[in-house]
């Protein structure tokens, strides 16, 4: 019987993982599932590789969702992206071209321990769930734990703070696993996208300082095209620009690390909304949010195929 999965509801971790297995089983020509390591609490860190397997040495795009546990629209989008990519491969020529010429690495839930905790205990948990020897507080902000100006401005050294940078860079096994994977594949990965909520923004480096990146023209154009594509769906406006000026200065972020690691296009999306619902974005808005974001991500992916 046909596998039924509702992409317009939020799913707990176990359901997302079952869905990943099912996508891997039913689309072997386009989907490859693998694990890049284990979380602090021992959960596997699954990634789906999407793309036509016949071609080798393709450029790649990495998308991770759920770095912050309470931002549930993130994992919902990652699942939506995978569904759209595989379902439209046959009848959508532009998606087929993207899947033929690029690989997409999709990590639907980055912070698996935190996400599980947000379903079971604390809906508004943000950090990972690692323990601290000296304090009763748990967790590290996975978007302050990367090795780029680590624990400088915009991050906290106190374990009880929500922006705690951790005892050292890449202390979190989740961050270490993704960093290791991206370092290993740095030759092919040309775009890094991290999905967050909420603010309706598209951000690029730098987060840790007020400065312009060397390839500003190309990245700014890509961002402009992306928000324009997003707007074309439902008329929703996203602000865009360097994270330090558009949002705030923060050190140790994944987009800064990805950029420093040689990935020329590094973006963080802050999805809907702007505060009316905040982290409690209703399920009725999952569809529109994901549809518009899909257009933006496709615009970025299409840009990778052009020279800039």
């Amino acid at each position: 019987s046909e596998f039924q999965y509702d992409y317009e509801v939020y799913h707990p971790l176990e359901e997302i993982q079952s869905w990943m297995f099912e996508m891997n089983r039913t689309h072997p020509h386009l989907v490859d599932m693998f694990s890049i390591g284990r979380s602090y609490e021992g959960r596997p860190l699954y990634v789906l590789k999407l793309g036509n397997r016949k071609r080798l040495h393709k450029k790649a795009m990495w998308i991770d969702c759920g770095v912050h546990a309470r931002e549930w629209i993130g994992p919902a989008f990652c699942q939506w992206f995978v569904r759209e990519a595989v379902n439209s491969y046959l009848h959508d020529s532009s998606m087929r071209r993207l899947m033929n010429q690029l690989n997409f690495y999709i990590m639907p839930v980055f912070n698996v321990d935190g996400y599980h905790y947000s379903w079971k205990t604390d809906r508004f948990w943000r950090k990972t769930r690692s323990k601290n020897a000296k304090y009763h507080c748990r967790g590290v902000d996975a978007n302050r734990n990367w090795k780029v100006k680590w624990c400088d401005e915009g991050a906290s050294l106190h374990p009880c703070d929500d922006t705690y940078c951790g005892p050292f860079p890449e202390s979190e096994p989740e961050v270490k696993a993704v960093a290791r994977f991206l370092r290993k594949h740095r030759k092919h990965v040309k775009a890094y996208i991290s999905i967050h909520a909420y603010a309706q923004m598209l951000l690029y480096p730098y987060s840790y300082k007020y400065a312009t990146i060397p390839n500003f023209d190309c990245v700014e154009t890509a961002a402009q095209n992306a928000v324009r594509a997003l707007y074309s769906a439902y008329g929703v406006r996203y602000r865009y620009g360097p994270a330090s000026t558009t949002l705030y200065v923060s050190s140790g972020s994944s987009i800064d690390w990805a950029y420093k690691n040689g990935i020329p296009y590094a973006f963080a999306f802050e999805l809907r909304d702007t505060g009316y619902y905040g982290f409690l974005l209703p399920e009725a808005l999952i569809g529109p949010t994901c549809m518009e974001t899909m257009r933006a991500v496709r615009a970025i992916a299409s840009g990778l195929l052009k020279k800039c």
Binding site: F124, G154, G275, G278, F279, L280, P282, A284
Partner: protein, 99 residues
């Protein structure tokens, strides 16, 4: 009840500081009061003209609002009862499933 009803009475408030004095007052206030920052992620990011969205526990809402009123800092209630909001959304899903 979702999450054992722990969010009953919790609120989400929005404050938009309009002066440096207000920013300092807010930072001092949040040093002595535990709130969950929705946006921005910490007090160090509070700027003039930018929204500060905070999730406040039911035991702290009265005290916080009184303090904001005393210091003439304007605020808006974005979500008056987090538990009810979550239950409402869960209810929508149940009725959708029944349909």
């Amino acid at each position: 009840k979702l999450y054992s009803n722990r969010y009953e009475g919790d609120q989400v408030l929005r404050i938009i500081p309009s002066s440096h004095v207000e920013i300092q007052l807010l930072k001092q206030l949040f040093q002595n009061m535990t709130v969950d920052f929705w946006q921005p992620s910490s007090t160090s990011f509070i700027h003039m003209g930018s929204s500060v969205d905070i999730h406040v526990g039911r035991n702290s809402t009265g005290r916080l609002k009184a303090h904001l009123q005393q210091t003439h800092i304007h605020y808006e209630v974005l979500i008056p009862n987090l538990q009810k909001e979550m239950e409402k959304q869960a209810g929508y899903r149940s009725s959708r499933k029944r349909r």
